[in-house]
């Protein structure tokens, strides 16, 4: 388990009193008043029900969405509402983001095509060279048997792993994962927990990657993550002792008592 306090360097990502919401939906849940600092070497696990505002918080922290209020700093640079898209695109190369539910793979591409797209785009590499550069990553993630299959014909668990490989292709410094364990069976959950733990500690030939995962519960990440927080109906709370936290129990209660409109 990575040590939460080993690095006192400048935060990679910093949120100051941020409100994050999906721009196209007025009634969508939002995360409010989030002040959060992600430092190198940390492994954050964020808990919260699906409608708790987490789906907009992670993309906002990853620089994909602009905050509706507050300040987001990526690698020390503030993201304002007028920050140019080109500037943001450059910053995003240092951040990986794995979406939930199959990872939003490109439907017209094979697994190999999906994984190599970032390398081919940013380094203008031909396919065979990009393939050789990602060979170790593909091997590590067990994707070799699926490599030439159309990405969307894969089982969901392998689509999710392809999305992880795609996000890691550029060797990001910070990796955000939105509900990586949802829709996974027991064996795959074990693989993800082990792999992400190793990734944060530093895989062979890889520098340690700062990891942030979101999910319904913080409990699966006990022993893997170093820092914990939860979104309680949009409100941000850091959790010092997740094992003793009643957050999951509150969420379970809320799940059963929430009235359907």
């Amino acid at each position: 388990m990575p040590d939460a306090s080993f690095n006192l360097a400048e935060p990679l990502v910093e949120l100051v009193d941020v409100t994050a919401a999906l721009p196209e939906a007025d009634d969508a849940p939002e995360a409010r008043g989030v002040s959060w600092s992600i430092e190198p070497g940390q492994f954050w696990a964020i808990g919260g029900l699906p409608a708790a505002g987490e789906s907009c918080l992670l993309p906002t922290a990853a620089g994909l969405m602009r905050p509706t209020a507050g300040v987001v700093r990526l690698f020390g640079r503030a993201i304002a509402s007028d920050t140019g898209e080109t500037e943001l695109l450059e910053t995003r190369r240092r951040i990986g983001l794995v979406f939930s539910n199959g990872g939003r793979l490109f439907r017209d591409q094979s697994v190999l095509g999906n994984i190599t797209i970032p390398l081919r785009y940013h380094f203008d590499l031909p396919l065979d060279e990009a393939e050789s550069r990602t060979e170790a990553l593909v091997e590590m993630l067990g994707l070799k048997p699926w490599l030439h299959r159309s990405a969307i014909t894969l089982p969901l668990v392998w689509q999710q792993r392809t999305a992880l490989a795609r996000a890691l292709a550029l060797q990001p410094e910070v990796l955000f994962l939105d509900r990586p364990l949802s829709a996974l069976d027991f064996s795959h959950r074990g693989w993800w927990l082990e792999f992400l733990g190793e990734l944060a500690a530093g895989l062979d030939g890889w520098p340690p990657v700062t990891v942030v995962v979101g999910g319904d519960s913080m409990k699966p990440w006990l022993g893997v993550a170093s820092n914990f927080a939860c979104l309680d109906e949009g409100r941000w709370e850091t959790v010092a002792d997740p094992a003793a936290s009643d957050h999951d129990a509150r969420d379970v209660t809320r799940r059963f008592t929430r009235k359907k409109n």
């Binding site: 196209e24 990853a62 995003r92 190369r93 983001l97 939003r104």
Partner: protein, 285 residues
Amino acid sequence: MADNVSNALTDPVPHGVVGRLPRALLNRAGREVIGWQETIRDLGAFALITFGAIATKFGHARSLTRPMIRHEIYRCGIRLLPMICFIGLALGLVIIGQTVSLLTKVGAQNYGGMVMVSVVVRELGPLIAALLVLARAGAANVVELGTARALGEVEALESLGIDPVHYLVVPRVIGMAVSIFGLTVYLIVVAILSGLLFAFLQDVPMSPSDYFGQLAGALLWQDFVLLALKTLSFGAVIALITSFQGLARPLKLEDVPAATARAVGESVVVCGLLDAVFLIVYLLI
């Protein structure tokens, strides 16, 4: 009964109905005008962003974008060649068939070539090629991009630091513009040859050398320049509008058919307006 009818005819219409009807119509018209104004503004901004991406990132990621441009040219151009040849064949037969028979009656058969140039080269050729590409590839473009947007693939591209306009729109704009230019050239060549074939089959008193001489005499150098400009701008406009409707607004899957219909309608209108602009230019030269 007669009294009732006369009362109905002479009674004033209630004030509320009179007041409501024009106001409702005005509101509707106002909303339409504002909607069009917003679309034109957003489309203009989208076009500027796209041309900016073409200018600033032209050589970027060539190994990825060039195959995509080739694919677009295949999809919008080469695959439509049989169809365009068939239309060219029919067009040549119809135009020469109709005009030569009419011109012969008035002893003006020497103007056949001029009619061919005016109708096929300047007007119908580019327009037909553009409408065919719009129907076969433009509509598909909205569906592809709209679905990609609705399924979050555009955000996935952005999360990888990839500019969606450069990756998704630029190859389509270049591919469609080149395709419409190429298809128009093929359409014109086939129409001219099929016109000659018809003249030969119908024993029209016009030799091939006369026919080609008339065509050469009617064609100006400006025709070639304007033909290229017109077809390239038709292609760019169709690609921009279909990409804009698919990409630029947040969509749900169920919105994609409506966006497709909107894109086709807007493309037809804008191509018609562009055609009118080029017509004025032709009239001025």
